[in-house]
């Protein structure tokens, strides 16, 4: 959870989360082979089916090729030069927060995510993930009273193995794509959410991902299951220290919504983006997909992507249940030498399914920002509808914006609508606002947030205000 104070008071600093926590860690050695995977699985005391899941994924990954179709340029990743497991040293079994290393609590405090009983956020439950492991999850007892399960995926493997076995990899198959296969082989931790039948989750749930170590990758795995007539709003936030090397982040998120269930998944991604010359920054290759399995189920993705040197991310919906609904609301901002290739896939399979795509791309500096999306109407998706709107805003004259919409329809009785626009912040617009007494930076941020309004309206309240500030912060000095 990116809390209230996360982006507050930081307007003068470009990236406030670049610090490194000096903590003793347990790392395995660099490199990736079957032994690495067995070692990770062993460390986590996993059942055999999960080890097989990993090994299966690894063998498939070895036969796959890194995709090169995205509009991204980056130096080749050496997969043998990455540490696949890094965890802060802790006691074997932690029974309460008091036993968590104070340095870790301090780290999350500094990030605006206090975890301790006295200081924790009151309206939201947090799962805090530090490198490869989940540190703490707040409000577990309170949530349990409602039957809601919210814990790290490692714990879920131990305590709710039947659910993991049933659903893990059911939305994103292990061989779905190169990065998903890699994640399936080496994933270390992440969050697990289970909302039982008929339950509206009493508070927002959130995960906060922190990369601390410079030479280890982060491969988290999130699984959210919403049973019939249940609903949940889930938020995720991410930051990383400033290193001049690139760190790989390859996550997989799977969502499953049964009959009449709804899942709202919001992301504010603020991984370190590298410096002005494009040195350092996170390589963010993420597979996020939701399956609207049930009738009238709904999955809504909203994302504010401002960080990472490279972003490759297409949160998608498989609309199987009849009358199910998929949504994708995205703001992607790139500055300096950042590159983003992001969008969504809306796969209409069931009849009378609906999807909405609203994408706002903002490119400043020398950055490249691409929207890539697929809308597919399957042969049984009669009476289904899609509406897509993809807008790009250019700031300065060196930035680039692309839109790649793919449309496939096998169903004549369906509607697909696509609108796209490109605009530029003009000097005259800025002068108009300034000539009314509005400061230059504020004028830019008013225009940018005006441009993003349709998406911000979809974010949970306090998230929206932060997103606003975050964009202003990211754009500082990029105009004029």
């Amino acid at each position: 959870m990116v809390s209230e104070n996360l982006v507050k008071d930081v307007v003068s600093e470009p990236y406030k989360y670049g610090f490194v926590t000096d903590i003793e860690t347990e790392k395995i050695s660099k490199g990736l082979n079957e032994d690495t995977i067995r070692l990770i699985s062993e460390k986590k005391e996993e059942p055999e089916y999960l080890l097989n899941f990993r090994l299966n994924a690894f063998r498939k990954w070895q036969k796959m090729k890194e995709p090169n179709w995205a509009d991204l340029g980056y130096k080749k990743i050496d997969y043998q030069d990455i540490i696949y497991y890094s965890a802060p040293k802790q006691k074997e079994k932690i029974s309460s927060l008091d036993e968590v290393d104070p340095k870790l609590l301090e780290t999350f405090d500094k990030l605006g995510i206090p975890l301790t009983e006295q200081k924790k956020l009151t309206n939201v439950a947090v799962d805090a993930v530090f490198d490869s492991v989940s540190i703490a999850t707040t409000f577990r007892k309170e949530l349990a009273e409602h039957g809601v399960i919210f814990c790290s995926i490692s714990e879920a493997v131990k305590d709710y193995s039947h659910l993991i076995e049933k659903y893990l990899g059911s939305v994103v198959p292990v061989n779905d794509n190169y990065f998903a296969a890699l994640n399936s082989a080496v994933f270390s931790d992440g969050s697990f959410v289970y909302i039982p039948k008929g339950v509206k989750c009493p508070m927002d749930l959130s995960s906060y991902f922190r990369i601390n170590s410079g030479d280890s990758g982060q491969f988290e795995r999130t699984l959210i299951i919403a049973e019939e007539y249940s609903s949940v709003s889930y938020l995720e936030g991410c930051t990383a220290p400033m290193f001049d090397t690139n760190t790989l982040h390859a996550a997989v998120v799977e969502l499953i919504a049964l009959d009449d269930a709804s899942i709202k998944y919001s992301t504010v991604q603020n991984w370190y983006a590298g410096n002005e010359d494009g040195v350092g920054g996170i390589f963010n290759f993420v597979t996020k997909r939701g399956k609207c399995l049930g009738k009238r189920s709904k999955i809504s993705w909203s994302q504010v992507e401002t960080g990472s040197a490279i972003t490759w991310k297409y949160p998608s919906c498989l609309l199987l249940g009849e009358e199910s609904v998929g949504e994708f609301y995205s703001v992607a901002l790139t500055n300096n030498l950042q590159q983003a290739d992001t969008g969504t896939k809306m796969i209409h399979i069931g009849p009378r399914t609906k999807s909405t795509i609203v994408s706002k791309g903002i490119s400043a500096g020398n950055s490249v920002n691409s929207y890539r999306g697929l809308v597919k109407m399957g042969s049984k998706a009669s009476g289904s509808r899609n509406y897509s709107q993809c807008d790009s805003m250019l700031i300065g004259d060196r930035a680039a914006a692309n839109t790649f919409p793919y449309i496939q329809s096998q169903q004549p009785n369906s509607e697909i609508e696509h609108e796209a626009s490109t605009c530029r912040i003009s000097e005259d617009q800025l002068f108009y606002l300034q000539s009314r007494g509005i400061e230059f930076e504020e004028a830019v941020s008013m225009m940018v947030s005006g441009f993003c309004r349709d998406v911000f309206n979809q974010l949970p309240m306090e998230f929206a205000a932060e997103a606003d500030k975050l964009l202003a912060l990211k754009l500082e000095g990029s105009v004029g």
């Binding site: 605009c423 003009s426 000097e427 005259d428 617009q429 002068f431 108009y432 606002l433 300034q434 000539s435 009314r436 007494g437 509005i438 400061e439 230059f440 504020e442 004028a443 008013m446 225009m447 947030s449 005006g450 441009f451 993003c452 309004r453």
Partner: protein, 261 residues
């Protein structure tokens, strides 16, 4: 130039101002002085530098002052940003108010008003108090409150845009307002609404510069002085009857005047 209120210092003094855009000289020695309570009209052909003068006073970054100075309440403002000038009480009513999609008119007006209030050490207004204030000001220009929820100038008719400018002037309560062809594109009813709005907002403390081609605005708002501009200079200054003369004889003589020079 004579002044009605000699005991007061001028609000705005433009002294022998030369300015250019991309090395092309536009203003070639403009001098004008506006005292509190005065209404000045600047008339002249298209391209004579009227709009440039107004933009330079407001601080448009594209123009470069090469000589001379602009003083506002006695201080040289050349180093001030456009927003600082606006906050201190300089208002420019645009000839072509620009559309800004996505930014709500209400929010824009509130931020602008509060920036000015902050400068005046007045309490900033929250959403509710501001709505009360803005509704009161809407009456001055006979605008419907539906305008507030729309994006800035987006989809506004020409007349609505101009009324929105005057609404901003009413909220910002400037010391000096430069209204650049506020009358252009207005039908006679809208012109009257705008003119009566301007009159109600201005008082003996404020100065107004009306930039216009036509007498009809000056029929509604009587200027104390009329300046004729040609080729980047003020070539003649008179009282309100000068405007009538221009209406009758056109601008051709100004061309001859420049040639003779």
């Amino acid at each position: 130039m004579q002044s009605k209120t000699k005991e007061l210092d001028p609000i705005l003094e433009v002294n022998n101002l030369f300015a250019s855009i991309e090395n092309l000289p536009i203003l070639k020695g403009v001098t004008i002085s506006v005292n509190p309570g005065e209404i000045h009209a600047i008339m002249g052909r298209n391209g004579c530098g009227k709009s440039t003068l107004s933009k330079i006073i407001a601080g448009h970054p594209s123009y470069k002052i090469t000589k001379g100075e602009i003083k506002f309440t006695g201080n040289n403002i050349q180093s001030l940003e456009p927003e600082e000038r606006a906050q201190s009480g300089i208002f420019l009513g645009f000839q072509y108010p620009i559309e800004i999609p996505g930014v709500s008119n209400l929010e824009f007006l509130r931020v602008a008003t509060n920036a000015r209030r902050k400068f005046l050490n007045k309490e900033e207004l929250d959403t509710f108090d501001f709505e009360d204030l803005v509704k009161e000001k809407l009456d001055l220009v006979k605008m419907d409150s539906a305008f507030l929820s729309r994006s800035i100038n987006q989809g506004f008719s020409g007349g609505e845009k101009k009324r929105n400018e005057i609404l901003q002037m009413a909220l910002l309560e400037p010391k000096i307002a430069i209204l650049d062809e506020t009358d252009s594109g207005l039908d006679i009813d809208a012109l009257r609404i705008v003119a009566s709005g301007i009159k109600k907002i201005s008082n003996e403390q404020t100065g107004i510069i009306l930039i216009t081609h036509y007498q009809r605005l000056l029929d509604e708002i009587q200027p104390d002085y009329v300046h004729v501009m040609a080729d980047g200079q003020i070539i003649k200054t008179g009282e309100s009857d000068l405007a009538l003369e221009l209406e009758k004889n056109g601008y051709e003589w100004t061309d001859n005047f420049i040639k003779e020079q």
